[in-house]
Amino acid sequence: MNFENISKKQLFKESQIMKIHYITGICALFVVAIHILMRVIMPYNMSLEYENVVMNYHNIFYAILLEIILVLIAIHGFNGLRIILIELRQNTAWEKSMTILTIIGMISIIAYGTRTIIIGNGLEI
């Protein structure tokens, strides 16, 4: 029968992954809250003006905050996606490729976002 556990070797136990999922979820809640509050300190439209945005990026604490958000949500979100995907089909090839796919997604979005933060941090107004 095509029943036995397909996944025997795993880097993390599923419980560890899910703990990470929960923790990233909760932490994301707080940091995103701060991120959004920044939008409402000043009128919304003003907060989106190029100068104001770049000013924010110059603030090293804010830049770190953004980086944290980026990492947390990328992990949480792509792991969520992985969960949904591996529930869809059960065979080793599919599961492996989905895991790799989500990890690639996770890394690339973090990399791409980090690039914005670094460059933003160095931009002249």
């Binding site: 409402v40 996606l81 979005i109 791409y112 914005t116």
Partner: protein, 148 residues
């Protein structure tokens, strides 16, 4: 769909349709469905948002061009949905974290007819409602800010 040794003709899994249909089995099922949809939706938005902000690196003109693209009525409505989705997902997510670690569920006991599963108790149901209401409020507030 899932086919193992049982052969195509006999497969009777509900499949994707199963989890996409929240209309049976009560409110917990609706909350499950919403949590998934909002999760995927937020992920899509998140990717888009990272891409959106990256236009920053190409200077003020690129940034303003992007703003012009997104800060439209349609874009605002989309943003309001994101606000609603993230409020629901976070609030309900916190409830889920609690219940999935066994908190706030009530105790098993001797089953009594008519059977009333304690896991589907008032606390849970009100948790779902609170998440729904919070997200509605957040959406109203968001609309207020965006369309002032």
């Amino acid at each position: 769909m899932v086919v193992n040794d049982i052969g195509e003709n006999r497969v009777n899994r509900e499949g994707l349709k199963g989890w996409l249909n929240p209309t049976r089995y009560g409110w917990e099922r609706v909350s499950y469905w919403f949590q998934r949809l909002t999760g995927i939706f937020l992920l899509v938005y998140f990717i888009g948002h990272v891409y959106e902000t990256s236009s920053l690196t190409n200077g003020i003109d690129a940034w303003n061009a992007m703003l012009e693209l997104t800060q439209t009525t349609g874009g605002h409505i989309f943003l309001i949905l994101v606000i609603g989705a993230s409020t629901f997902h976070s609030a309900n997510g916190i409830r889920l974290i609690f219940v999935q670690s066994g908190k706030g569920l009530g105790k098993p006991g001797r089953p009594d007819y008519p059977y009333d599963p304690v896991s589907l108790n008032k606390t849970q149901r009100s948790g779902i409602w609170i998440a729904l209401i919070l997200s509605a409020v957040a959406m109203l507030y968001g609309a207020n800010v965006l369309f002032e």
